[in-house]
Symmetry: C2
Subunit: 223 residues, 2 copies
């Protein structure tokens, strides 16, 4: 017993890997783990140890990459939404795309990229925890909502000028186009267990409500 390290030497099977990683990769792993935890239980109920365990590392390691729990959360929610944006406003720049089709694509994109993925939990998270994190809310309003509304406003104006809208005043209320998407998020994350919502049908019905019925020749509105 001359060597003092003996105390630590005879570790059991449960030994941890203590693997070193590329910092970027480690960071991404932590974010992925945090995403799963926060989406599952919310901000308050998620423990840093849960996140660490899920990432397969020790709690202290998390703090090598993020200063505190709040920053972990805010960086997570700020980082996820951005990729979607790009696709959205490519819809508006191509003027050849009929407005109705563009809005329809908007819904399709939303279904495929948000509703039908784990991202939907994240969106609900922002709604849920928003008031406790004004910075996050402000970010989302500025980066997502404002940009989305701008795109929709342009599309709706174009549609109104072509006589495609059943109610031309819609161009002044782009929020209305967003509302079924919001409903779909809430419903699928809250009530789906009790009553199924057919989101495809929801969006289709809504589109038929916003736009005048399709026509063989979209040019001549009045015969």
């Amino acid at each position: 017993m001359t060597d003092q390290s003996v105390i630590n030497r005879d570790r059991t099977v449960a030994e941890r890997k203590r693997e070193k990683r590329d910092p970027q990769q480690r960071r991404a792993e932590i974010l992925a783990a945090a995403f799963a935890c926060f989406a599952e239980r919310g901000f308050a109920a998620t423990r840093m140890e849960d996140v660490a365990a899920r990432a397969g590392i020790a709690k202290g390691t998390v703090y090598l990459h993020f200063p505190d729990k709040e920053r972990l959360f805010t960086e997570l929610v700020s980082g996820i939404a951005s990729p979607i944006l790009g696709e959205i406003d490519s819809l508006v720049h191509n003027e050849a795309i009929p407005p109705r089709f563009a809005v329809s694509m908007f819904y399709t994109l939303f279904r495929r990229e948000v509703l039908e993925t784990e991202r939907r939990h994240l969106l609900r998270l922002i709604l849920a925890e928003g008031p406790l994190f004004p910075a996050v809310t402000e970010f989302y309003h500025r980066e997502i909502i404002t940009k989305g509304l701008t795109v929709l406003r342009i599309l709706l104006k174009r549609a109104a000028e072509r006589g495609d809208l059943r109610n031309p005043l819609l161009a002044d209320m782009p929020q209305i186009v967003m509302s079924p998407a919001l409903l779909a998020i809430i419903w699928t994350t809250l009530f789906e267990a009790y009553e199924h919502l057919d989101t495809q049908k929801l969006f289709d019905t809504f589109l038929d409500t916003l736009f005048v019925p399709a026509r063989a020749a979209p040019e001549g509105a009045t015969p």
Copy 2:
């Protein structure tokens, strides 16, 4: 100053009252305080001591009326919504009321009784904390959502038969009528600080989108 109330009268400023109350009244006071706290900070961030302080009593007293924090919360959110329901389905039983007017009243009621009161925070609370309290979510789906949708379905069917709907298929998707209300809740509790939303205009525009334009004589749909 001859009566015994003197003992209670000239207490020093910092002194607590230790006032006895009718249990029902005390209970109501606690619920009111809890409402304010939960609405302001959410479930997790609210301390039982905050609730007690707001009600002007000691923490222990809260536990004389509610077994634990969770029950305080669930009894609170379950108890508040019920009163509104009555008014809603009185709208559907009077067949003389034109459907459009009934839906319009639905929105007006929603604005006056929810959006423009503190109740709006409660509704957001349910959206936010829902997943952590399945019992509450289930209750709301059963008591509020289902009943609301049933009423709307009847109204929309009636409207479709009269030819009032721009898209008759709406009768099969009453959720669509609810969606702007949901948007209004989220917006006013989350984004209002950054960008004002004119909810009156929102609902008016939406009504004009759902229903065919008003006519001098609502009877004859076809001239």
